[in-house]
Amino acid sequence: MYQALFFLFAASAVGFAINLLIQRHPIHSALSLIGVMGSLASLYLMLGAEFLAVVQVIVYAGAVMVLFVFVIMLLNADKEEPSDRSKMAKYLGLPLLFLLLAMITVVIYRQFPEDAMVQFGDFPGQTAAIGRLLFRDFLLPFEVISILILIAIIGAIVLAKKEP
């Protein structure tokens, strides 16, 4: 049961991701991205990381994607024409990608041939545990991220504001 669910969501995440790349219309790509995030959230939930799953849905699938869709609609973005990619990227890109994936798979299988699959609720993903990590062990990076976000805001304003 667990395995069936895992493969269902994993396959749908990969499928949506591929669809995101194939679609020519930005709104279709954006909708596929929501599919990717939804499937990922389900995977997190199955691993017992309920906090991460909820955040994934609220922040990414909710807030960020709504903004994306709004912007696409406001800009009235149309179908994209395929650009002239280099020949090398066109013919070598996919085979090389699969080669890399195959290599990683082989390494992981060689390393952990006997390991069983991760089981439901294996990780301490409870909100309390995350809070403790965030405000005790990783207090410093957590605080530094506030400057990071400040810079992002300033940057957006500096680069986008109208000339006086």
């Binding site: 390393q111 990783f138 990076p141 991220i145 400057i147 990071l148 300033i154 940057g155």
Partner: protein, 491 residues
Amino acid sequence: MLSEYFSAVDFLLLKPAILLTIFGIGVMLTDLLLDERQKYFNAVTALVGIGFAAVQMLRIQSQMREAGVSEVEAFRGAIVLDGLGIFFIWLFLISTAITILISFRYLEIENEHHGEYYAILLFATVGMIFLAIGMDLITLFVGLELMVLSIYILAGFLRGDRRSNEAAMKYLLLGAFSSGILLYGMSLLYGMSNSTNLRVIGSALSQRPLGDPLVIMAVVTIAAGLFFKIGAVPFHQWLPDVYEGAPHSVAAFMSVGPKVAAFALLLRLFLVPLGELREQWEPLLIGVAVATMTLGNLAAISQSNIKRMLGYSAISHVGYILLGLVAGNETGLKGIVIYLLVYVFMNLGIFTVVVAMRRRDLVGDEINDMAGLMHKSPVMAILSLIFLLSLAGIPPTAGFLGKYFIFLSLLETGHYTLAVIAVLYVAVAIYYYFRIVVVMFMQPPADQELPSMSLGIRCALGVTAAMTLFMGLYPEPFIQLATGPVLAILR
């Protein structure tokens, strides 16, 4: 003392970063009160902020001396201030201060004199400080992103200039990609050790069998991410484009502060957690170092844009510094530390000259724009000569000192072929650096407009030239200076 999770030591070590942040926010607030003619006040505020952070560093150092400790740990090991960290923080403060000095007049000419520029510079310095003292993967990564995010914005600061927009976009996309690869490697390290602390990861990795594919994968992905950040071949393509398109003063900053910070990260990651795996990454490093020197030096020959040429020359310097890590003995590490110190001053010096070439109606980034500089401003021409001599590594200047230790370490560890290759490329470097000298001294001026001088540019030229000459003529105190950081690495 303050609480269970936040002690007085934590606060003390954070103070320089906190002060820089406060002044960064302060610059943006006071910027609102200033009209167009008073914008220079922003630069002054930012400089005062750096002064405060520097005083705080001095106080931390004197407290450490009084307590008789050579390293202080804070935030449960997330940051460690040791000799190496202190050295790098001082380099960052100096390079940011000199960048502020040369930016002021330049931004006025470009008509983009906003307070945010100085604020972002200060925030980038905060990020670099965390790269220098971080001992924890997450702290290091947040510091790295803080730094590069600031530079993405600074690179695109000239909004009306297409080349600046292109540079920002290119750097953003490739930078995000390389951060992703680096993060993937970090996640593998975490997976193998169940800790984000570099020292714990180091002892966990040393337990694993030799040639473990998972370790190799982690080393390769981390190396790829880091090589991108320092601009080593084959991850260098962004560098000349971004240097060319970014505002002159930002290109000057990028070529020193963030590059040194990326080296700080590289030294930490390669020597603390991956230090035991030297046999695994040494061949990789040799290949990359030789390729970097080759491509950097050969591609620099054919450039006509001086910022592009300096971009390729920066790539070649990365190759030399990596050779110090290949040797890896005490002399080699000393060579890296001295090279970085010297590099900051000589590179900022030559970039200051480039910034001064930006005049009212001239972008000033072609080598030919420097024609006849000897007639227009003899002092500046002679100072450029000193910087170029130093970049090439000719004896009476500081550049020789850095290269000397790198070559010496290669000979000591028996890398004779590498030493020969490195010396040969110095000859190539002399050729392309002297092309600029020939243009400056031999050719008649193409136009009559003098280089744009300001108090800031004069100060920056004075400091960088004095240091470049002084370190070359009287190297003893600077070699002494390098022992602290080296001891910190070797411990």
